[in-house]
Amino acid sequence: MGRTEARKRKLLVIGNGMAGARTVEEILARGGAEQFDITVFGEEPYGNYNRILLSNVLSGTQDPSEIFLNSLNWYAEKGIELRAGVRADVIARPHKAIHCDDGNWYQYDNLIIATGSRPSIPPIAALRRANGEFRPGIFVFRTLDDCHKIAEYAAKCRRAAVIGGGLLGLEAARGLLNHGLAVHVVHLMGHLMEQQLDPQAAAILRRTIEAMGIQVHLKKLTKAALGDDQVTGLAFEDGATLDCDMIVVATGITPNAEIGSRWGLVTERAIVVDDHMRTSDPEIYAVGECAQHRGRVYGLVAPLWEQTKVLADQITGTNPDATYQGSKLATKLKVMGVELVSMGVVEPDRENEDVVQFMEPRRGIYKKLVIRDGRLAGGIMLGDVSKAAYLMQAFDRDIRLPDEWLSLLFDTGAPTAEVTFAEMPDSVQICNCNGVSKGTIVRCVGGGKRSLKSVMETTRAGTGCGSCKTLVGELVEWACGGRVEDDPSVHYYVPDIPLTKTELVKAVRDRSLKSVSAVYQALADGKDEPAGKPGLASLLKIIWGDEYQDERDARFINDRVHANIQNDGTFSVVPRIYGGVTSPAELRRIADVAEKYHARMVKITGGQRIDILGIRKQDLPYVWRDLGMPSGHAYTKAFRTCKTCVGTDFCRYGLGDSVQLGIKIEKRFQGIESPHKMKLAASGCPRNCAEATVKDLGAVAVENGWQIYVGGAAGSTVRAGDLLATVKTHEEVLTLMGRFIQYYRENARYAERTYSFVQRLGIERVRAILIEDCEGEVARLDREVEAAVAAYRDPWLERSKPYEPTQFAEAGRVENHAGEFAADAVH
């Protein structure tokens, strides 16, 4: 048979259960109607229904019509031929055709086998009549027809026995209970639902369901059904019997794989498929409970959904790279109204597995998590599944769990962001600077961006103040299902130079690269990536000190004009006010300047300084001249301020002279550049009015000395600083602070605040290096910071000697301003 481009391929699907129908839907969703003429064969004379809800039908809580997924009309609308009530019995692979019990042959180009499974019946005597049919009162529980028959028969009965205490058996028991029967569950194993539960959870479940009126019989091997024709009871291996007038056998399933084995497809427990869901015949696929993938046959719905997607991607050619890697088993279900989640390993089986467990049998609540290497290996939630959504995601996607485990089981006040990703509505804003929502990030990941960097580039999330970057990273990891692409460039110190900080420092030293452009020339073929320039400049300055060759194009605008750019393109001016102590004369000058240059606002800052806002760039040199004060460095990654309280000068509680200490600190470290800004404080007593414990560096006076705190923060991140040391004198405070500053300058990542740096290293390590001198670096650090202090020069002096003629040029008037900027010389 010749195939032309115009002819659609003929696709036959054997099986119209959840797998078959879902596969067809997935194929249609990929434009499969253009490629295929599709015929579906279903043994049951219905459209497709949700088998999971059969127990609701049995219990009467749902009408059969409510559980249909696809009505017969749906097939017609989609142009799919449905052969309901038709069973395929031959696959003639050489002819690419199947034969059905309607007597017809059907040709295929591709064939999908989705025959599902059937109840497996244990060897119990006297279940069937001589003709092989079940005796009256004996049922299996698999199809809508089974439901109808059980319900019909139950009306005449008083006592029912369900053989099988697994999920299906308990579902059947619940259904029967609603029909007003006394229900007994007979189970071979030592506890109920041994696939999903550990003994403790099963015991609690048993207690709960027995309270509902179901009797549970464990460790019972059923030998025979009693009664002549009508059922009257069960006989067990141990000699006991149980009276009942109907029996539902729910002891597991057997894949309907015979159609595969009989017609030459490789079949073991089920029809063997590869990662593309192909059987040993490449034109034939298998999916669902009749398929065996990597040795496993899945009887739950979630793996089936994953399989159908891959199959559809493959057969339509939509994504030839799609593979099915197997599923992790997690189920959320309601057993007799008891909510239950079970996933993965429910009993720890390795030494390195931790168990977090909570039990409250009286209320029917049990929670258990098995944690391996910080990730969820499995767990059980019974009776309270409020935390299940996150946990199931964490399990399925292998997400790293938070360090604090209590909140995994309970809502303990404010939940951490990590715990709530799954429950978090898509509309929640993650990046507050750029207004990026959870949904946008998740969609971006769904669109193929699988690294933090690419998501940040695409959505801009995390590119504002950067404080949400960790959260964005976690969200990306969550959305990727743990399969984040490791983008090597995230380890680069700057983009476009494929070197980590350590490697870069070595290259810079080895090749004596002293300017940003020299680095790009030598290491990136001259390709200077603008986003990387300031970070590189910061690094070079720390490496080379005086020898660093300053290039102003490597500076952010703030560092070119020594002021902080505002949203309207004007600048803010914060003069240095050492320790926050000013004077009437200084205040008068500030007031005059604010008026003269039409400042839009004069504001006291959080760091106890005065901010003059709304200054035009071209006025900056004149403003500085009129102020006659040094730069307060409020615009750059450097030492910013040292906030103080009045201490012993005035305060009746004062223990230490915090004002003088603050002034000394500020005079010493002003303008010292660092990977990120440093905000300091000095408090005169433990009441800590200057809030020194939430500063990058803080000193708190105590009786006979000063405590030094490092790594505190109270901005976008809040962190209490760690106590570095307690010392006696101001001078010792200055020495230790300087040592820390230099160590931070040399070792932090660019734009890494001290709170992150100290947390990353751990305070013990910081102490070991800076106090105990375990690396023998202390003397050198002290020398280096001394050199940095000595090199300080007030950048505002450029008012009289601009670095470049058009450094402060008014926008739009460049050509008229050249040479006019020696502010001290004009006027």
Partner: protein
Amino acid sequence: MPSTDSHGKEESVWVPAGTIEQIPVGQGRCVLTGARQIALFRLRSGEVYALDAVCPHRGGPLAEGLVGRETVICPLHAFKFSLRDGRGLDNDFSVKSYPVELRDGNLFVGFPAGDGPHTVADGGA
């Protein structure tokens, strides 16, 4: 005064935009050409580019941005634009770009003849 020149691909009006020396190497500066503010960028490679001066996102001054080989980053919110064609690189905005000529140290920006420099650009200050 503007002069019509035939060096451009289409008829362009070439408007003087100051001297190259006014733009430090590797930086940008904003110049007023006619009624329009133009951001001129002088790269370390020697190339000069011209874009409309105002970032279409929130009105940031593009001339103050960090400049790399083919990119300028707006100083306000770090939106990136191509220096070659003004296309947003990580955003859906774009700014107009203009041809630039350097003659004896003097810069000239080419405006399309029908869209002369005396038309105030959208969002122009």
